[in-house]
């Protein structure tokens, strides 16, 4: 158990890399842009602006993130550094329409 803990400390700390910022807008229970291209291997700061009159929850299994964005507010979510590939996410409160993907390149 302790050995595992110590091992995890030996892993590189990639969060020291500089972060870049991106904007996602929620309108009519949809994310815009639905596909967001971000650089791989860098920490990303997503600013999510909810322009709807209802709250939304940004949720992604692949990014391992969940955050409620209240109606008419803006919030930020840190993700990554990511390996190259697609990372789908969705709005849990309006899953039918609120679908998007972050693509790391």
């Amino acid at each position: 158990m302790r050995r595992l803990l110590l091992l995890s400390l030996l892993l590189p700390v990639p969060s020291l890399a500089a972060e870049s910022e991106y904007l996602l807008v929620i309108q009519d229970h949809r994310f815009q842009p639905a596909q967001l291209i971000v650089p791989a291997g860098k920490k990303i700061r997503l600013t999510v602006a909810n322009r709807d009159a209802t709250p939304e929850e940004f949720e992604s299994y692949t990014l391992d993130r969940e955050k409620v964005i209240p109606a008419k507010t803006k919030t930020m979510i840190y993700v990554g550094p990511l390996d190259p590939g697609p990372y789908p996410y969705y709005g849990e409160f309006h899953q039918k329409t609120a679908q998007g993907v972050v693509v790391a390149q």
Partner: protein, 276 residues
């Protein structure tokens, strides 16, 4: 429409599993039911308040108020569960063998009950406030009404699984009940600690230390039935960050050590009590 019932089911399930396990663990504590009920009620009232002030919470601390709030709620619950487990391993045996005669432990039982109240209250608060927000969103955008039956179904199903766990645990003979619930509570607390770490990583307050540490989503996805259950019970995550694992293991280590230590000094403890 069916999706809404499943979301509500999952939120209710997480709280109800915790309540089921804690209720079984405190089976022999006098006055437990009243405290349990008070905890659930306080949690429900709190859910409404938190849901109503989500906007204010979200904007606190430069937009990371929600993460700090969640991590704080989880952190307090972890401390309370740890305390509960350590207390139970020194007093549990006495309560189990002769609940009625352990007069002096009633006072201790009372402090144990207030821990129960806080733990249950926080679990209901966390899951409840998300459910309230979600239901508000659904009813505001879809007109509501029609989905009432399905939502009710989700709530009932979530409670039913929690009750099933409780009833199942009660079938375990008293002798083993405490070690069974003790282990479950310990893993529950470790899972919460790992979730708290995830919120702090999300807020960029903690480094992730390798994210993800592994990826078992192809074998056991988090949104599968088994994945949901394991996530609620032992904090299973298919893609944990290294920091989450560190929090998980540290919690297990601290609680296990505390329980062992409490068990060891228990004989001296009861002797000292008999003198008074």
């Amino acid at each position: 429409m069916f999706g809404t019932a499943i979301i509500v089911f999952r939120e209710v399930l997480e709280a109800s599993l915790l309540i089921g396990i804690v209720a079984a663990a405190t089976r022999a504590v006098p006055g437990r039911n009243r405290w349990l009920a008070a905890g659930i009620l306080a949690g429900l009232v709190g859910s409404g308040l938190v849901a109503a002030s989500t906007g204010a919470i979200a904007e606190m601390a430069n937009g990371i108020g929600q993460e700090i709030f969640n991590a704080l709620v989880l952190g307090i619950a972890v401390l309370m569960l740890a305390w509960h487990n350590i207390w139970m391993s020194s007093h549990g045996a006495a309560l189990a063998t002769d609940a009625r005669k352990v007069g002096s432990s009633i006072r201790d039982g009372r402090s144990e009950c207030s821990v129960l109240l806080v733990v249950v209250g926080l679990a209901v608060l966390r899951e409840g406030s998300e459910t309230v927000l979600f239901l508000y969103g659904v009813s505001a955008s879809e007109g509501g009404g029609s989905s009432g039956m399905l939502l009710g179904g989700g709530i009932v199903a979530g409670i039913a699984v929690g009750y099933a766990i409780y009833a199942g645990l009660l079938r375990i003979p008293m002798r083993w009940l405490f070690s069974a619930t003790g282990t479950l509570v310990m893993l529950l607390a470790a899972g919460m600690a790992s979730q708290a770490a995830r919120f702090l990583i999300q807020a960029d307050l903690l480094p992730s230390l390798a994210a993800p540490l592994w990826d078992s989503s192809a074998v056991l996805p988090e949104n599968s039935a088994v994945g949901i259950l394991l996530h609620s019970l032992i904090g299973y995550e298919p893609r944990p960050a290294g920091m989450q694992m560190a929090f998980y293991l540290l919690t297990v280590l601290v609680i296990a050590t505390g329980m062992k230590w409490a068990k060891k000094r228990q004989p001296i403890f009861t002797q000292a009590k008999d003198v008074h």
